[in-house]
């Protein structure tokens, strides 16, 4: 099993701060406060080439810019999955297909798609954290023969907060050697699946660490409990990959705020192994 190698500080580009105007060509309402936007240039092209895990700055031009991970991509589009939490995201949610938005990127590093080749992949996500995970998961499905068993463990607060329902319940479970496990924290009518927090759910599933790499993404508490959970299962920190989030304005390592120690999440990250993070200050 080869070591997981993550590239850092590998994005580059000219005129990084100026957005290009693109169109929204599709919107999926994932939950009451999460929407997925499919974005394309006016010429019908992909706004930029990027790898799974990379970021893009999306702007509702009259309101402001916000950073999102590219949740998926096709030959001629990229997708962002946006949770409504404030000014910019509220404005984005009010837009319809055909609306114009600003896009700049790609920023940040990417998931180690190469060094994970040959491994069984374990994806663990909570809530909107499935967005970055989806980018990697969907890559592994497109390159199915390069990876072993694919296991997804996903939770959200309740049934209505699960994002990418179509993929979760219709698409991914039908992919070869792909296991999708979904739980919610709070039971409700119409939910017959697991009711369980993500960390105990992980343990209950008894996921094998053999030849496996884990990808973990979620809010601060999920991150804490599930990194512990994965360790308990026997995963080494070198084999747990995560993506970090901190407030950012420029996306290119200049505006200052997203540092942990001497690293900038926008440039050196957002993707790190837990082993790499152990060597950094705990300011996240």
């Amino acid at each position: 099993m080869s070591k997981i190698e993550i590239s850092h500080g590998c994005a580059f580009g000219e005129k990084p701060l100026i957005p290009q105007i693109c169109n929204i060509i599709g919107i999926v309402e994932e939950t009451s406060d999460v929407k997925t936007f499919r974005i394309q240039t006016p010429e019908g092209k992909k706004p930029f080439e990027c790898r799974p895990g990379q970021l893009g700055m999306l702007s509702a031009m009259f309101t402001g810019e916000s950073m999102f991970c590219v949740a998926d991509q096709g030959d001629d589009y990229i997708e962002f999955t946006v949770k409504r939490v404030g000014m910019v995201t509220e404005e984005l949610h009010s837009l319809s297909v055909g609306a114009q938005v600003g896009v700049r990127g790609p920023y940040g590093n990417w998931f180690p798609t190469e060094s994970c080749k040959g491994r069984n992949m374990v994806f663990v996500a909570g809530g909107i954290g499935l967005a970055p995970v989806r980018a990697f998961l969907s890559y592994t499905l497109k390159h199915r023969e390069d990876y072993g068993t694919i296991t997804l463990v996903y939770s959200a607060s309740n049934k209505d907060d699960l994002v990418f329902k179509k993929e979760l319940f219709e698409v991914w479970p039908n992919e070869p050697d792909t296991h999708v496990n979904v739980s919610v924290y709070h039971a409700c009518d119409g939910w017959e699946g697991e009711v369980c927090y993500t960390a105990p759910f992980l343990e209950k599933l008894g996921i094998s660490t053999e030849n496996a790499a884990a990808v973990l993404c979620g809010g601060p508490s999920l991150y804490r409990t599930c990194s512990e959970g994965l360790r308990k299962l026997g995963f080494a920190d070198e084999d747990i990959i995560t993506t970090l989030e901190m407030r950012m304005k420029c996306g290119v390592g200049k505006c200052g705020r997203c540092n942990i120690g001497g690293k900038f999440i926008c440039l050196d990250g957002p993707v790190f192994t837990l082993a790499e993070l152990a060597g950094l200050p705990s300011d996240v």
Binding site: G9, F12, K15, L17, I18, V252, K254, C255, G262, L267
Partner: protein, 330 residues
């Protein structure tokens, strides 16, 4: 070559024909680098301006682009370039070194900041060596020489009635051609000086690497008012926010100075803040200056100008911190 002091006015008049010339002077009671009008108002003999010259390259508020909706309903983005030929005349060693640090930030590591670069390419730096030091100056402890700014395009040293003039870069040499009529042969006597305030940086970075969880941050931050003064007066602080202002069907997106001492700086959704109290913020500021920047760019981000030492209303003092670190056994 020397530049007689009596010729400075004429030289700057000449330079002003093709560039905006900035000199140290008092404007509304604040010493800063401001457009040259006449030699009378200049304070070339001051030790250090209250505000650093960083705004010549990185304005406090900088328009990045206009956007809007045109007559056909199409959205447009129209990048702004307000860069012009600029000369900073009388910059000191500390501030010159701060430009070296800002060059690292804005021009390296994969992305070149287009707005900074446009201004940087058009800036001529003329340094004057210090013959006096303030109580709060400690640049020589930070590895600098108050009378020599090796990266300045032109270096002047002050004698009694003239400055010695040396071009140090290609740009400086080219610029000197237009200075010729105002220069003459000669030499000047320059008094040797030293900073009165000393700190010992030996081992400080190594110790800081191990001091993230040290109680000092709690103690030091107890009196901090989170006013942000230290970051605004610091020549190397470069953090910014991006915002916009709309007018009917168009608007302007701009960036403006921000401060790591403010709580909103890292505030995230769901009430999460990775630096929730003054302790984490102050720790980040000082560790950035003395430790993190070195990890990233191989130099310290404090140039010893002493501005934060002088201006902090409650005397949070980086030199005392450095002394304290020196005494710790960590």
């Amino acid at each position: 070559m020397i530049l007689k002091k009596e010729n400075v006015q004429n030289l700057l008049d000449e330079l002003s024909k093709s560039a905006l010339v900035f000199v140290p002077k008092e404007v509304d009671g604040v010493l800063k680098f401001a457009p040259f009008k006449s030699a009378d108002e200049m304070t070339l003999d001051i030790i250090n301006t209250t505000l650093p010259p960083k705004d010549l390259l990185f304005p406090q508020t900088q328009k990045m682009y206009r956007y809007g909706i045109d007559a056909d309903g199409k959205m447009y983005v129209d990048p702004s370039d307000d860069s012009a030929e600029q000369v900073v005349f009388g910059i000191r060693t500390c501030d010159m070194q701060s430009i070296v640090c800002m060059d690292d930030v804005f021009l390296t590591k994969g992305f070149v900041d287009e707005f900074y670069q446009a201004k940087r390419d058009k800036l001529l730096t003329v340094a004057i060596g210090c013959n006096k030091v303030a109580e709060t100056c400690f640049c020589d402890s930070m590895g600098l020489d108050p009378q020599n700014s090796p990266t300045a395009d032109i270096q002047l040293l002050e004698g009694d009635d003239a400055y010695s003039v040396v071009a140090q870069t290609e740009k400086g040499e080219k610029a000197l051609e237009s200075w010729k009529p105002f220069l003459s042969e000669g030499s000047v006597e320059v008094p040797k000086i030293e900073c009165a305030l000393k700190v010992d940086m030996t081992g400080v970075k190594d110790k800081l690497d191990r001091m993230f969880d040290h109680p000092i941050w709690e103690e030091l931050s107890a009196k901090c008012l989170a006013c942000g003064t230290c970051t605004y007066v610091c020549p190397t602080c470069h953090c910014f926010d991006i915002s916009q202002e709309n007018k009917m069907k168009d608007g302007v997106r701009f960036r403006c100075w921000d401060s790591c001492m403010f709580s909103e700086y890292t505030q995230m959704a769901g009430d999460h803040n990775p630096r929730p109290t003054k302790k984490e913020r102050l720790r980040n500021r000082f560790m950035h200056k003395l430790c993190f920047f070195e990890d990233r760019y191989g130099k310290t981000l404090c140039v010893g100008c002493g501005r934060c030492v002088e201006k902090c209303p409650v005397s949070v003092d980086i030199t005392c911190l450095i002394d304290q670190i020196g005494e710790f056994d960590v």
